[in-house]
Amino acid sequence: MRAPDHPVMGKGDVLLAVENVSLGFGGVKALTDVSFDIRKSEIRAIIGPNGAGKTSMLNCINGFYYPTEGRITFKGVKRPKMRPYVAARGGIARTFQNVALFKSMSTLDNIMAGRSIKMRSNFFWQLFRHGPAMKEEVEHRRFVEEIIDFLEIQHIRKVPVGRLPYGLQKRVELGRALAMEPELLLLDEPMAGMNLEEKEDMSRFILEVNQQYGTTIALIEHDMGVVMDLSDRVVVLEYGRKIADGTPAEVKNDQRVIDAYLGVAH
């Protein structure tokens, strides 16, 4: 796989900063005054009990929601109010809690669809499926095949994804996100509903993406073993507020985190 062709930031620079972000839907506050940052090339976990606002946070980051207060800075630039496709073009990719693949397309086409923003050939050549259109198709196919090899899904290349088992669908979805060559990869519960073996595979892929290509990853996960092993830093949300932020070891011993997960006697 090639390295991302965006301007490269050094490891450890702040790639995305969330400052005092609040998000409300009418009277319901999903997020209140949350601040944290995601640094270049790290694996950042966002954890918290159900309903803590983790997915809302991801939705804010990739432009699906716009925070009612606060601001988000990506690659040092404050983001204007924008549509998700702008975030995608800026280099933010995402997978979903419940798989959101294009069910009728094959694995190959799903991942190829992830290359859409990289493809340039115009309508005219597309009409004739010739010249630049075909050249580009082959070029991107080569890249997609690398992803397919990397994720070990060669055997399901031409199978419509709707027919695949859940674990493989999750893997294809990761492949589709990788096809965008993102700088920031948001994974919303990549291991949900998987068995141990599938979790190990997925963890291996996440680590490899991070280490080999330096892709920054923010992930939401409920499996604490996975979170503690994979992530460099963890941010903990509860009822839309940040209650802890730090390395896995720090977070694990934080009294507020323990209270949030185990409950406190009143």
């Binding site: 699906f64 496709y85 975030a87 069910k103 309508f123 004739f128 198709e137 082959v138 080569r142």
Partner: protein, 361 residues
């Protein structure tokens, strides 16, 4: 073996991403095209004029609607009106510039319906499904009103009807009263083949993937950088282009003249049924759908008396007419229950079974 994948190795990505990767499919397609051309010389004028020309015209319109409803998932009830725009645009163009070859104007007329289609596609960014269908009804009614109320569209012709003037290609009349069904059939067939080929290229490439992405999961598509509005409007434009050309062919190469009411809401429903029964999201399904809805009743009209007469049952033409409706209606329900994804899916299943025949899998 007759139909096998075995032994056909692909050594590069161009071959692997071919639209017809199987040699047998390519041979079959060539044979069908050759047979279609041969029909022009073997078929009688009833077959060409009353069966094949309308079948091809409806297939083209169904391909147009299929691009919008089948591939992009946007329900439209404005097909009839978009066909009308193509027909009226073609009429205006060829009467204003009679020296330019009419084939050019048939293709150009599609651009007018594409523009109108894209305009009426604007609400699709915010509304989906049945609500969008209702919004496209606005196009149907508004455009039909224009066809009736703007006499400029028919060059202030008192009858208010479109009539096909005499036009030639290489000195042979292809339009107007002197054109034989044979030449008109050849022209329609060639146009439909070319446009189907282009549509097939589009839906198998990047643009097709973007359309299907919007249909299958629009949120995920947007989060992958696919712009929803542009993609949907492109689908509206391309779809309306096909409908527009089909409309021009319908009036000038099939009917030879028509009034505004051929482009009414019934026409829209007619095409929609073809698309649904043929198979949403399938080009070959558009042909199947047109065949089932248009040709089957004609065949029944001929076959039914022949089947009934040996039993000593002689029935009037009116009964045959009723029987035709009943049988076609029952068949539509039957096919929808057997395979809700349309005849194209049945065709695909059949081909897959044939690939491994005589084994079950």
């Amino acid at each position: 073996m007759l139909y096998r994948e075995a032994g056909q190795f692909k050594t590069n990505y161009v071959a692997d991403s071919a639209i017809f990767p199987l040699r047998e499919d390519r041979i079959g397609l060539t044979l069908i095209i050759l047979a279609a051309y041969a029909l022009a010389f073997l078929g009688n004028s009833f077959l060409l004029q009353a069966v094949m020309i309308p079948f091809l015209v409806f297939s083209l319109a169904a391909i147009g609607l299929n691009i919008l409803t089948g591939y992009t998932g946007l329900l439209s009830l404005g097909t009839g009106a978009f066909m009308g725009v193509g027909a009226y645009a073609c009429y205006k163009l060829m009467t204003a510039f009679p020296d330019v070859n009419v084939i050019v104007w048939i293709f150009a007329s599609g651009f007018f319906s594409a523009a109108i289609g894209a305009l009426f596609g604007l609400p699709s960014l915010r509304i989906k499904g049945f609500y969008l269908a209702v919004a496209t009804l606005a196009a149907q009614f508004f455009l039909q009103w224009c066809f009736i109320r703007i006499p400029w569209l028919v060059n202030y012709n008192v009858s208010g009807a479109l009539d096909a003037p005499l036009r030639t290609l290489f000195g042979i009349p292809i339009m107007g009263p002197n054109a034989t069904p044979q030449t008109r059939y050849l022209v329609v067939l060639t146009i439909v083949i070319v446009l189907t080929w282009l549509a097939s290229n589009l839906v198998h490439g990047r643009i097709g993937r973007m359309w299907i992405a919007i249909r299958d999961m629009d949120l995920a598509a947007e989060l992958m950088g696919i712009r929803p509005l542009q993609t949907k409007l492109l689908a509206f434009a391309v779809s309306s282009y096909y409908c527009g050309v089909a409309g021009a062919l319908l009036v000038f190469l099939w009917y030879g003249g028509a009034e505004y009411d051929v482009f009414n809401i019934n026409q829209s429903f007619f095409i929609l049924f073809m698309v649904i029964i043929g198979g949403l999201g399938s080009l070959i399904g558009s042909f199947f759908g047109a065949a089932l809805i248009f040709i089957l009743p004609i065949i029944l009209g001929i076959v039914l008396p022949a089947i009934l007469s040996p039993f000593g049952i002689s029935v009037g033409a009116d009964v045959i007419e009723h029987l035709r409706f009943m049988i076609v209606g029952a068949l539509i329900i039957f096919f929808l229950i057997v395979e809700p994804h349309g005849l194209a899916r049945l065709w695909q299943i059949g081909k897959q079974k044939l690939l491994v025949w005589p084994f079950p899998y």
